[in-house]
């Protein structure tokens, strides 16, 4: 029982992070039918920016809530701006081009960001300061939940709830969903589709920056190829849930996190990735569109 609850807590923590990052893949795919391969790298760039703010402002002492908040805000703003620039530079000129050209551009942008991180911060693994967050932890039903885990779970849930409300219950959110279904029809409604696309490249990277910094804070490390490692997991989560589907990315992220945790807890952590891919294959065989992808057959 203790193991089960413990893996549940671990899984929800990692799953929340996966979900935050997966949302960026799914929202961009939704409006552009494009896999933004640079998304994982953007998220990790957020972790590095947050780390720099933390270590720069630290001066040896305890960071305190204010500095921590500042690190998150700096990461969110910087990565949102990077996301917008990425769209303008790497994707917008290719909007009408061959699909393959956009994929190559996405891969190029990914490498550029990854190498940019290496150039600025170097190839070494950066360790996050040990006293970043309170060491408090609580016992629940024979398991322990740390302050960091609780923070990650609560903030991820709050951000996802906010995004869900925004996308489903505001005018602009409905416009985003409409543009994802049919861009020309959306234009006929008076929707500025360029603005919708721009907004998706703000929201996705902003959430991703939080996810990236969570990864850094949770595992207490950051290295320049981390974008691929965690980006791939989040991308799988997006596919699991049905790429293009926003609640799907949330569900896929949490499920993948839980699955990873239980695989590590009950089988072995070295089997974790193999089990993840088995899950992906199984779901794609049973439901090729992912768990929540395209529930409604559209009549023509």
């Amino acid at each position: 029982m203790g193991t089960f609850i413990q893996q549940l807590i671990n899984g929800l923590t990692v799953g929340g992070v996966y979900a935050l990052i997966a949302l960026g893949y799914t929202m961009v795919y939704g409006v552009l039918r494009l896999i933004n391969f640079a998304h994982g790298d953007l998220c990790i760039l957020g972790a590095f920016i947050g780390l720099t703010v933390l270590t720069g402002g630290l001066g040896g002492g305890h960071p305190g809530a204010a500095l921590l908040a500042l690190a998150f805000i700096a990461a969110i703003i910087a990565i949102a701006i990077a996301g917008v620039l990425l769209e303008i530079i790497a994707y917008r000129p290719l909007r009408r081009a061959d699909r393959l050209a956009a994929v190559v551009s996405a891969l190029g942008a990914s490498m550029l960001i990854e190498n940019g991180i290496m150039l600025i911060w170097g190839p070494d693994v950066h360790v996050f300061p040990p006293d970043l967050l309170p060491k408090t932890s609580w016992r629940v039903a024979g398991a322990a939940i740390s302050f960091t885990q609780l923070m990650i779970i609560l903030i991820s849930c709050a951000l996802m709830a906010a995004l869900y409300g925004f996308v489903n219950h505001t005018r602009f959110g409905t416009a985003i969903r409409a543009a994802a279904i049919d861009q020309d029809a959306a234009r006929l409604m008076g929707i500025n589709v360029n603005r919708v696309i721009g907004s998706v490249f703000v929201i996705g990277p902003a959430l991703g920056a939080v996810g990236g910094l969570f990864i850094g804070v949770y595992y207490r490390e950051a290295y320049f190829t981390m974008g691929w490692t965690y980006g791939l997991s989040a991308f799988i989560a997006a596919i699991l849930g049905g790429i293009g589907n926003i609640p799907g990315a949330m569900l896929g992220g949490v499920l993948l996190g839980l699955f990873n945790a239980f695989a590590a807890g009950y089988v072995s952590s070295s089997w974790q990735d193999a089990i993840t891919f088995l899950l992906l294959i199984a779901i794609l065989i049973l439901r090729p569109t992912g768990l929540l992808g395209e529930r409604v057959a559209e009549k023509v």
């Binding site: 279904i181 020309d184 029809a185 234009r187 409604m189 589709v193």
Partner: protein, 242 residues
């Protein structure tokens, strides 16, 4: 006649294919104007060009004397030109109410609420189904939704591209009765139809497109009586679509 919409020498090409060649036409305030033409004549291209969705090679489009030839599609809606496009293009995974609300995207919220009530009055079947996903509506209901959605933009000019497409004769009759009501409410209509008889009965004037060119233009009554039109477009009986 001071034209509300005036198109001069418009050419639209997709790569090598010239879909519209030097087309000119006018729509006056309060008129219902029909565009007739066979498959591939360039009717949809014309509608998309007016709405800012097709690339223009030459010519101009003026709205109330102001040039809008290269204006972005969303800005054209704000000027008062809305379209119910060919194939309806409703947002299938959104509800009926959400589709209608998107139609009023350019209008203030209060106006959208009032507009919704008006559309539900015009199409009671949509009111019953407001929580239903648009993709699960029947073809006729989807067409009502496409028209209602365009009306929520409070257009002064309503562009309709084949509203009878794929619908049973009885449903088509209903839709045309709705259009008559809309026109009586003072909204100018530019209507593309292959159902020439129904279109000309509703319209004041008509144009005939043939392989991208305007080949004929006259009053609806004259077109209905014209032997060329009868042979080419009216030959297959009332109501039914060729």
């Amino acid at each position: 006649m001071s034209a509300l919409l005036s198109i001069r020498g418009l050419s639209v090409a997709y790569g090598q294919i010239e879909a519209l060649k030097n087309a000119s036409l006018e729509v006056g305030q309060g008129e219902v104007v029909a565009i007739l033409g066979a498959n591939g004549a360039g009717k949809t291209t014309l509608m998309r060009a007016i709405s800012g969705l097709a690339p223009k090679r030459a010519g101009s489009i003026h709205w109330e004397g102001r040039e809008i030839t290269r204006l972005a599609a969303d800005k054209i809606v704000r000027l008062g030109i809305a379209q119910a496009p060919e194939g309806r293009r409703v947002f299938g995974t959104l509800t009926v109410a959400e589709n209608l609300e998107l139609g009023g995207y350019t209008r203030p919220a209060r106006e959208v609420r009032a507009g919704l009530e008006e559309v539900y009055r015009l199409f009671p079947r949509l009111a019953e189904r407001r929580r239903q996903l648009a993709g699960t509506l029947s073809g006729g209901e989807q067409q009502m939704l496409a028209i209602g959605r365009a009306l929520l933009a409070r257009p002064r000019l309503l562009l309709l591209d084949e509203p009878s497409l794929g619908l049973a004769p009885l449903i088509v009759q209903g839709i045309f009765a709705n259009l008559k009501e809309i026109a009586a409410g003072g909204i100018t209509i530019l209507l593309v139809e292959q159902n020439a008889r129904a279109a000309l009965r509703l319209a004041d004037r008509g144009y005939v497109l043939e392989v991208g060119r305007v080949v004929m233009s006259d009053s609806a009554a004259a077109l209905l009586a014209s032997p060329e039109i009868r042979d080419a477009y009216l030959g297959r009986g009332a109501g039914a679509r060729g």
